[in-house]
Symmetry: D2
Subunit: 376 residues, 4 copies
C-alpha cells in the first residue's frame, strides 16, 4: 500500500503544476496519469497566455488570468535552471484581428475597459498593422494590440513541471487509471487504480474532461464537460509574422522552430477521437484568409484535444464540500496553460491550510450559481 | 435518448464479433468504444490461431478453441464477400520449437494427447525441421508440427467485423467512454457515456481489461486483470520461413507483406503505456536465437497491448447472475483473436434466448472455482 | 562484382512489375531502389484504374490503358496465390461528375466516342445518380458512368509485385542509389551504386521522376519532369458511397477498410517535400463539395508524391537509341498503377528480344514529336 | 535564373552552419537541400561534443575539435537571442567507462596526454563513480572523467542555424536535388537542380554522404563514404544519471525532457534504410549492461543515419584544386555536430578570401596522404 501525503489524479498541465508546487513545499506527492503525462489537452494546446484577448468584461476571472500571466517570466527561469528545459516563452504579444466594422467596434470597446484596469490594449489601424506584420491580409480591418498576451510551448511547459517534480523527489505513475475511490467517514480513504492502491492524506482531482466520472466514484457531482478542439500546424521556412494573430475564425501562433499552430474548433460534448475533414477545411480556410502567404506552408500535424468546460465558464478550484480531503482543480476550458502556475501555487497553499482569497469565486460549492466568465 | 436493441460495450475484436453476429440476426446493435474501434489489444495481437500450441492438457477450453479455429476458412470468405477486406488467413501451420531435451520430452507428450483427440501433432526431428524451414538455428532441437494452428491478420479481422456490421446496418460510436450504468429493478436501465445515453434491451460487456471497472459501475464484480504484452515487428525482403515459429521465449509470425511479428512479453497487472527497453532486448535476443538471419531484418514498429486475464485462465462468457440483461464476454487473455468467431456466434445465440452448451464451463457465475485453462 | 542478367533501376510499381515479369520468365533480376521499395509515387497513388475517365479522345494511349486494365482480374488471383497479398481490386466502377452544364456537355461527348470503341460509358442524370449514390451533393448535375474504370490498393499492388519477385528468386536492394553508369562500346558496362557495383547484361531505367538525372549519367537525355501531387485520406465509419467519384476539382476513392482517399493536386516541376496548407484547403473543400457528409470523416493522413511527367504526356517504353542494352520505362504520369502490368509484361518481352507493337508509339526515340496523350 | 553570391549544397548541420556564418557576414546565400533541412545525419546524431572522449593521440584534429567545443557556450546565447530556440547545451560532462583492466589502462594513458595539453581528464575509480552516478552497473570498473566534453540537442542546433540564417535574410530550398554541375573555364558556372538553376559566385559542397556523387558531377573525386549508424531512445521518468556515459559498446546521452539516447552502431558502406534487428539487440544489451535500471525505460524511437566518412578519418575543409570557386566541407564522420561552428566560421572566412590556418591539415588536396585522425 502506497502512502504519499498527496495523490494528484491527472497528469496534465494542471495536475503537474499542482504536484510541482506541492513538492517544492516538501510534500510527498504522487501524480496518477491514465495514459502518459501531458498526452491530452495539455499537449493539444497552442500555448497562448491570453488573459485579455478573449475576455469581454472585467471580473475575478480576468484578475486570476492576469495574476497567472505575470508569473511566467520568473517561472521560465526557474524551470530552466532546475530541469534544463526552456518553455519557450515568447514575449512578442498578440493581435486581436477585426475583419469587419462590427468587430472593430467591439474590440475598441474591449480595449477601453482593459486600459482602465491598467493593461495595455491599443487599437491599431490597418496601416499600423501592415507596418508591424506585413504578411497580414488586406481583409483585416484593424486589430487590438495586446503586448501582454504572450505565449509558451504548451508541451514543454507540462514536461518541465513533470521533470521538475521528479527532480525534487515527487513521483508520476503513467498508465494508472482510477478504478475506484473508497470513501470512509467523510473522506477519501483509498484511491484504487490499475497500478495499485494509494492511501494519501489528501487527494486532488485534476483530471480535465475525466473529472466528472472520477468525482462520481466518490459520490461527488461536478458538471465538467468536454469541448473538443481541433488544430493543425504548418512549417514555414521564412518567418512570416512574429506576433500571435487571433482572428474571429481561428488563431495563428508562431513558434521559434518555424512551426505555426492553427487553432481551434469548438465542439461541445463531442468526445470522438481525431480531426474531422470539416475541421481541417475550416482551419485551413481561416488561416489563409488571415495570412495568404501561409498557402505554401508545409502541413506538419493535425490533432484534437478535449478541453474541460464548466456550465458558467469558470474553473473549479478548491475543496469539495462533501469530503474533507478531496480537492478539485478542473474546468479550465481554454485557459489551462495560462492558469497552470496560479492554480498550482494556490492549490499548494490550500492543501497546506492557507487561505487563498483569489480562489473564492471559483469554489466547487458555487453549484449552479450563474457567475459568468466574461470569456467569449 | 438512443434505444437500440443491444449495446455492446467495447469495440475490440470480441465486441465487434458479437455485434457482427447479432446484426446478421437482425438485431439493432450499437458498439460503444472508448477510443477507436480495434485500437487496443486487438491490434496488438499477432493473429495466431493457436488452439493446440499452448495447451498442456485437454478440456473444454481446448474444445472451444478448436471449434473457433474451424470457423476461420468460411469466415474469411464471408467477410471478403461482404466487405472486400481479406483477413489474410494463412494456412501454413505452426512449429512449437524445443531448445533442449526437457522441452522435447514435454512437447512429445503434448503431441500424444492431441493426436488422441483427433488433431494433427507430429514430432519433427532437427533434420526434418531444417528441411522444412532451413533458416532455423541449429540450437533448435526439434519441434511439434501443428498444421492446424494457422494465423490471420489481427487488425484486419477486427476491421472486417467492424466494416461488416456497419454494412449490415449496425452502429459503432468511437470516443464513447462509459461514465455510468444505471441499474433499476435488477436490470441495466441506462448506459451513460461521454457521447450520450442509451437504453437498450440488452447490454454486453466486452471491454477487455476495462471490463472490471465498467462492471463495477453496475455493482458487479468480475476479476479481469491486465497482462501487458510487448511486441515488435521487422520487415524482411526475402521470405525466411513460412510457418509460425513458437519458441520458449518468443514467437515469430510471418505475414504476406514481408512483416515478421515478434511477440510477446507477459507482465501481470502492469498498465504502464509503451514498450520497455528490457522488452525490446528480450524479444530481439529470442528472435535472433531462433532465426539468426533475422539480424538483417528491418525493425518496423514496437507496441504494447493489455490482454484481459482471469484468475483461472478461462474467459467469462454468459449472463451475470446479478442482472437480468447484462452479459459479459471478456477475459480471453491470449486467445481473443482465435476465440472471436465462436464467442460472437455464441453470444448472439445467448442473447436470442438459445442455449449455448459449449459456454457452460465459462459462466461468469463460476466465481473462484478453480477450473484450469490447461494453457501454459 | 554482382552479375545479374538484368538490373532494374527503380523500385516503384513500374520497376517491380518489370522485374516480376522478367523473373517469371526465368531471368536473374536485381532491382535497385534508392530508398525503400514502393515508398514514393507508387504508395502516394490512389489506385484508380482510370482508362476512360481522363481521356478526351481515342488513340494508342487509351488502347494501352485498356489493355492493362483488362489484366487486373487475373493478376489479382495470380498475386494472391503466389504471395498471400490481396491487391483489393474493387470492381464497383467510377462516376465522372459534372458540376455544371459545360462539363455535362463535354462528358456526354466523351461517352459517345468511348461507346464507339466498345467501352461502357453511360450518361446518368442527377436522378439516376442520387439513386445509386445518395450521398452525392445536389450540386452534382450528372455523371458519366464508367463501370470498367475500377481501382486497387496502390501500396498493396507494389508490395505484391515485390514479394512475388522475391518468392520467385529475384532480388531487391534498398538504399542503393546510383552514383554512376559506366558506358563502354555503346553499352552500359557497369552500374555503380552506394551499395556496390553491378555488371548486368541489360539495364532497365524505371526511376520515375529521377529517370532524367540517372539517364544523364549515361549521356542520355530523357525529358521526364516531376508533377507533385498532394492527397489526404479520411476514415468513415459508415460506407457513404461505393463507386469512385471523380469530380473536376478532386476525386474520392473508397477503400474496403473505411478509408476514402481524396486526391490530388498537380504542381509541375515542384519537388518540395510535404503537403502545403493550400493543398489541404483545396482537397478538403472539393471533397465536401461533392459529398457533404464527409464533413464528419476522420482525417487520417496527408502525403505528397511526384509523378513522372513527359512533354507529350506519354510514357517512354523501349530501348534508348544511344546504348544497345539500356531500356527505359518511365514518364507514366498519373497512370503508373494502371499501366504497371502491361508495362511489366511488355518490357519483359522486349528484353527477351520479342517485338512489342503496342509499345511503338511510346518509343523513347520519338524525341519532341508532338504526339498527344489525349489525357485531360 | 537565381544568382545568389553563394550556393551551399546540403542542408545538414554543416551546410546550415556555413550558410549561417556567411549570412552574418552579409553574403546572399542559398542552401539547397535534397529532402528537408536537417533531416538526415544531423538529426540522427546524439549531440555529444566529444573532443576528448574518442581521441587516442594529440594532433590537429583534436585541436580543431577543442576549438569548436569552446564556441558552444557563446553560440547557445547567440542563437537563443536571434531565434528563440535553445540548443540545450548541457555542461554536465562525460564519463568514458572502462569495463575491464585493459580498458582501464588505455583510458588512464589517454587521460595523461590530455592533461598535458591542458584539458581536464581525471581517472575515477569505481568508488568515485558510484558516488557521482549511482545508477551505473557494478560491471563498470572505472572511468575517465571529461568535464569539458558536453552535449547539445543535435536537431535543435541544426534547426537554430537554419532559423538564424532565414531571419538574417538567407534562403533555404527544400526538395532541391542537384541534377548537374555545369563547369566552364575552371569554375562551376551553374548548379542545376530539380527546383531550378543557380549561378552563384561560389559553391560550397556540404552534402554529407552524398558529397562524393555530387562532386563527381563536376569531375571532382572526393572519397567520402557512408558509415551507417543506428540509435534508439528511451524515456525515463526519474532522472537516472546526469553525465553522458560512453562505454565500449554504446553511449548513453541524457536529455532534459527525460529522453536517453542510446547510440550507435557503425556499418561501413551500408546505405540500407532503417534499423536492423541486430542493431536493436546490440544497443539494448549494451545500454542495460551499463545502467541496469534502464530496463524499465520506455522505448521511444529507433532510427538510422549515414555519417560521411573519409579514408584517413579527417574531414575535407577547403577549396578543391580543380575548380576555382568550388569549396568542400564534408567527411566529418562522427563529429559533425561538434565541428559545425568551427567549420561554419572557418568556411565563411575562406570564402571571404581570408587565410584559415587551422584548416590546412584538412585540405581536400591532401589526397591519399595518410594523416590519421587519432580517433578510435
Amino acid at each position: 500500500m502506497n502512502k504519499p501525503d498527496v495523490v494528484v489524479i491527472g497528469g496534465g498541465v494542471i495536475g503537474c503544476a499542482i504536484a510541482y508546487y506541492l513538492t517544492k513545499r516538501g510534500a510527498r506527492v504522487t501524480v496518477l496519469e491514465r495514459d502518459r503525462i501531458g498526452d491530452h489537452a495539455s499537449s493539444a494546446a497552442a500555448g497562448m497566455l491570453g488573459a485579455q484577448v478573449e475576455t469581454s468584461f472585467p471580473g475575478p476571472m480576468v484578475d486570476l488570468c492576469l495574476a497567472s500571466r505575470r508569473m511566467f517570466p520568473d517561472l521560465q527561469q526557474e524551470l530552466l535552471q532546475l530541469t534544463g528545459l526552456d518553455i519557450e516563452w515568447n514575449s512578442a504579444g498578440m493581435l486581436r484581428l477585426a475583419m469587419d466594422e462590427r468587430e472593430s467596434g467591439e474590440l475598441q470597446q474591449r480595449g477601453e475597459w482593459q486600459r482602465e484596469i491598467g493593461e495595455k490594449a491599443e487599437w491599431w489601424s490597418q496601416e499600423q498593422l501592415i507596418q508591424s506584420e506585413p504578411a497580414l491580409s488586406s481583409e483585416v480591418k484593424g486589430a487590438l494590440h495586446l503586448p501582454g498576451d504572450t505565449q509558451v510551448s504548451a508541451p514543454r511547459l507540462t514536461r518541465a513541471f513533470a521533470r521538475g517534480l521528479h527532480i525534487l523527489g515527487g513521483k508520476g505513475v503513467e498508465g494508472a487509471f482510477v478504478t475506484g475511490l473508497r470513501v470512509e467517514r467523510g473522506r477519501v480513504k483509498e484511491v484504487e487504480t490499475s497500478a495499485g492502491s494509494y492511501r494519501p492524506e489528501q487527494v486532488v482531482l485534476a483530471a480535465g474532461v475525466w473529472t466528472r466520472s472520477v468525482a462520481r466514484m466518490a459520490g461527488v457531482s461536478l458538471p465538467v464537460f468536454p469541448v473538443k478542439g481541433e488544430s493543425l500546424s504548418v512549417q514555414v521556412s521564412e518567418p512570416l509574422f512574429r506576433k500571435t494573430l487571433f482572428g474571429p475564425g481561428a488563431y495563428l501562433v508562431p513558434k521559434p522552430d518555424g512551426q505555426v499552430i492553427v487553432g481551434a474548433t469548438e465542439r461541445e460534448n463531442d468526445t470522438s477521437p481525431g480531426v474531422t475533414l470539416e475541421g481541417l477545411h475550416r482551419l485551413s480556410r481561416e488561416a489563409l484568409r488571415m495570412v495568404p502567404e501561409l498557402s505554401g506552408g508545409n502541413w506538419e500535424r493535425s490533432w484534437a484535444g478535449f478541453r474541460p468546460g464548466s456550465p458558467d465558464g469558470l474553473p473549479y478550484l478548491g475543496r469539495v464540500k462533501e469530503l474533507s480531503n478531496l480537492y478539485v482543480a478542473s474546468g479550465h476550458f481554454r485557459n489551462g496553460i495560462l492558469l497552470s502556475p496560479v492554480t498550482g501555487r494556490g492549490m499548494a497553499d490550500l492543501l497546506a491550510g492557507l487561505e487563498v482569497p483569489e480562489f473564492h469565486p471559483f469554489s466547487p460549492e458555487r453549484g449552479e450559481r450563474v457567475t459568468q466568465s466574461g470569456w467569449g
